[in-house]
């Protein structure tokens, strides 16, 4: 028995909203990064579900690429967080606000 496609879509939408909520509300940079990861994986779920639904492998391949990209993004993001901590002794994203008008 296969799971209906709309459950996947609902799961993915729920995960994306959780990630978005995290991005908009969390001040901790690590939580921020995690939320972004959740949003990425929500997209991945969609890609794989529809690839399965259509019997087409390219969606799954694309999800692999997304994972590789996410790994790279995490590396860069953690680097930024390290620098952030070194400069401000804190990882609160609202503190460094010098880059504005």
């Amino acid at each position: 028995m296969t799971v209906e496609i709309h459950y996947y879509v609902l799961l993915s939408a729920a995960l994306f909203c959780i990630g978005l909520f995290g991005v908009l509300t969390r001040r901790n940079a690590l939580m921020f990064l995690m939320s972004v990861e959740i949003m990425l994986n929500a997209a991945n779920i969609n890609l794989i579900a529809f690839a399965f639904y259509h019997g087409n492998l390219s969606g799954q391949v694309f999800a692999l690429f997304t994972m590789a990209l996410a790994a790279a993004e995490v590396a860069v993001g953690l680097g930024i967080i390290l620098v952030l901590y070194r400069n401000f002794r804190d990882v609160d994203v609202t503190v460094p606000s010098a880059m504005r008008w």
Binding site: L20, V23, L24, T25, F32, T94, S97, M99, R100
Partner: protein
């Protein structure tokens, strides 16, 4: 065999070389560059005479030499046009320039002037510009050299720039003539834009184009072709009025007497001031197509002739008298051209160049005699002490006053005769004729007032009792010009021809192309047909001629006789005092300087202030308003950029939602 015309550019380039030589090496040369100028102008004179002889041999030359801007519609070029008119003018200009250079040896060098290198360099530059102006085959080239002679005039008037008055006079001359030249420039642009060519002569000249446009009944900018030609002609006339010192732009010429007298003789009597009249003669075919423009020329000329002559009556400075007389005589030339007397106008131009250069050089000689005193009331009795100066000056004065048989009589009489016979048919021109006729009386009076005060009676100052001697370099130019002033009238003895039937109107034949081929559309007869003037006579041609000549001669003798009675006494009195308030008006030159200053300060300045205020408040206000709105707006907008990443994320999400909702509304999802 090389054609003589191959050397035509050299006529102008020789003085240019003298300018460069005098400028660079002047200080190291004997006489500070005078010899370079004398050699160059002598060369120009010889070449001009050669051109004259070649033209007399039946050739004319009309060649473009160098295209300096080539466009689709119009091409600008330098070129040379040598026809009877320009050949005659070349000889006049180079002859007077040569004599003035020689005279300068006595007037400038011998007096120990400083700045002689500058003087001779500027004189060379002027001669170059003037000759190039005469040679010009198109209106733009003429305009360029017209401006260049104006510049040289400015430089030379301001030669003694350490005095207070000379720089101010130079500036005045520059600005007043430049005012006229603005109109000239607009006229040049207008002619070029309308007809697509600026050449004077040939089938593709703007004169021929204008003629065919009028015949074809074309319209330009909603105006008939003739009206448009009139407008263009009057614009060019603006430059002529400025340069030839015609009313109302004549005020600069009397002030220009601040320059050295040699400069006055060359520039402000014989050549540069003639440039305006020469230009009218040069493009006479153009003016001939517009009776309105011609009538305006005639009236400006007639009025100026009378107006300036009345002011000359009360002046005490010998050069001032000559300056007003110059304005008046150029008025006669304009009158002559305006009534269709092309030959008469050019004839007077030639005669005037000789006798006025003579009178100015004579005045220069008097100033040398008097140890640089110019007030005629301090002279007197120079007749016996300087006979050469006296007799040459007298010859020039007789010519100026128009006494038979001196040269001025023949040309002035011809102008007045042309005006009279036209006036008999079209009475409006009788007014211009009357002004010219009355001016004859004043001319005779002020001329002989000057002669008697300067040379007759008892010496009235120490300098006049013991005058400075004159050198040969002063006497030779005076004698050459004196002879010319006596005999130049023989070039065109029109009255004798009409009375006695002797065919001795050489100048008329000369300008009629009788000796030359290839000047279609530029001969006197064709001009006369173009003007379409009808002429009338009192009784017959002979009677009209005799009446006209008797009237002008009688008035000239009347003026001279009055001067004889009043001033040819051992101790003359200032009879002008008896004129009362009229004298004050005349001595103040009819308050024209005051009027012009009032126009500048009372009229132009407030208008300029208003324009400035409009510019500052309205124009700048709009610009500043636009920028302050954008400044204020961006001041608010920039606060969106908080520097906090979370806010950016929120904005992106909100923007995305707004985009989706917008797409939904337009896409009809909610219907």
């Amino acid at each position: 065999m090389v054609s003589a015309f191959e050397f035509a550019p050299a006529i102008a380039l020789l003085p240019l070389a003298a300018f460069v030589v005098a400028l660079v090496f002047g200080n190291g040369m004997p006489k500070k560059g005078a010899y370079a100028g004398i050699l160059a102008t002598a060369g120009s004179l010889l070449l001009s005479l050669w051109m004259f002889a070649t033209v007399a041999g039946g050739e004319v030359y009309n060649e473009g030499l160098y295209d300096w801007a080539i466009g689709d519609e119009i091409t600008f070029h330098f070129g040379v046009l040598i026809d009877p008119l320009s050949a005659l003018m070349l000889v006049i200009v180079s002859l007077v320039a040569l004599l003035v250079h020689i005279f300068s040896l006595g007037y400038m060098n011998a007096e120990g002037e400083t700045g002689l290198r500058r003087y001779y360099a500027e004189l060379g530059l002027f001669t170059f510009s003037m000759l190039a102006f005469v040679l010009a085959d198109n209106l733009l080239m003429a305009f360029m050299f017209f401006e260049l002679v104006g510049l040289c005039s400015y430089l030379l008037i301001g030669f003694w720039f350490r005095t207070r008055s000379a720089p101010s006079a130079a500036k005045k001359a520059f600005l007043v003539t430049r005012f006229g030249d603005y109109f000239f420039l607009i006229g040049v642009v207008g002619i070029g834009a309308t007809f697509g060519t600026l050449t004077f002569a040939g089938d593709a000249s703007f004169v021929a184009e204008a003629q065919s446009a009028i015949e074809a009944g074309e319209t330009f900018h909603g105006l008939g072709a003739e009206t448009w030609v009139t407008i263009l002609g009057l614009l060019v006339l603006g430059g002529v009025i400025g340069k030839s010192a015609q009313f109302p732009l004549h005020t600069w010429l009397p002030d220009a007497m601040e320059g050295p007298t040699t400069v006055s003789a060359l520039i402000h009597a014989a050549t540069m001031v003639a440039a305006g009249v020469y230009l009218v003669a040069r493009m006479f075919g153009f003016y001939a197509q517009s009776p309105t423009a011609l009538a305006i020329i005639a009236f400006v000329g007639g009025f100026t002739a009378l107006f300036a002559a009345t002011m000359g009556v009360v002046k005490d400075d010998i050069k001032q008298v000559l300056a007003y007389s110059t304005i008046s005589q150029y008025g006669y030339m304009m009158l002559g051209l305006g009534v269709g007397g092309y030959v008469a106008g050019v004839f007077h131009l030639m005669n005037h160049a000789f006798f006025k250069a003579l009178l100015f050089l004579g005045a220069g000689a008097v100033i040398i005699l008097m140890h640089h005193e110019q007030d005629m009331w301090k002279m007197g009795g120079l007749k016996d002490r300087a006979p050469v100066a006296y007799y040459t000056f007298l010859a020039g004065s007789l010519a100026l006053a128009g006494i038979v048989p001196f040269s001025g009589f023949w040309s002035k009489d011809e102008i007045l005769y042309d005006a009279l016979i036209l006036g008999l048919e079209e009475p409006i021109f009788l007014a211009a004729y009357a002004m010219g006729l009355v001016a004859v009386f004043f001319t005779g009076f002020y001329t002989f007032r000057m002669v008697f005060l300067t040379f007759h009676g008892n010496p009235r100052s120490e300098a006049a009792r013991d005058p400075h001697p004159l050198g040969m370099n002063v006497k030779i130019p005076l004698i050459v010009l004196g002879v010319l002033a006596v005999v130049a009238g023989a070039a065109n003895l029109a009255p004798v021809y009409k009375l006695a039937g002797l065919d001795i109107t050489f100048l008329e034949h000369w300008l009629d192309g009788a000796y030359t081929d290839g000047m279609e559309g530029m001969t006197y007869h064709e001009y006369s047909e173009m003007t379409g003037y009808e002429t009338g006579y009192i009784g017959s041609e002979t009677i009209t001629l005799l009446i006209g000549a008797a009237l002008s001669l009688g008035l000239a003798f009347g003026g001279a006789g009055l001067a004889y009675i009043l001033y040819n006494v051992p101790e003359p009195k200032a009879h002008t005092e008896n004129l009362g308030s009229a004298r004050t008006v005349l001595r103040s030159n009819y308050y024209q300087d005051e009027v012009q200053v009032w126009i500048a300060e009372g009229l132009t300045l407030p208008v300029a202030r208003m324009a400035d205020r409009f510019d500052q408040s309205v124009i700048d206000g709009v610009v500043n308003g636009v920028s302050s709105v954008s400044l204020f707006g961006s001041g608010g907008m920039k606060r969106l950029q908080t520097g906090v990443v979370t806010n950016y994320a929120a904005l992106i999400v909100l923007g995305f939602i707004a985009l989706v909702v917008g797409l939904g509304v337009y896409g009809g999802w909610f219907v």
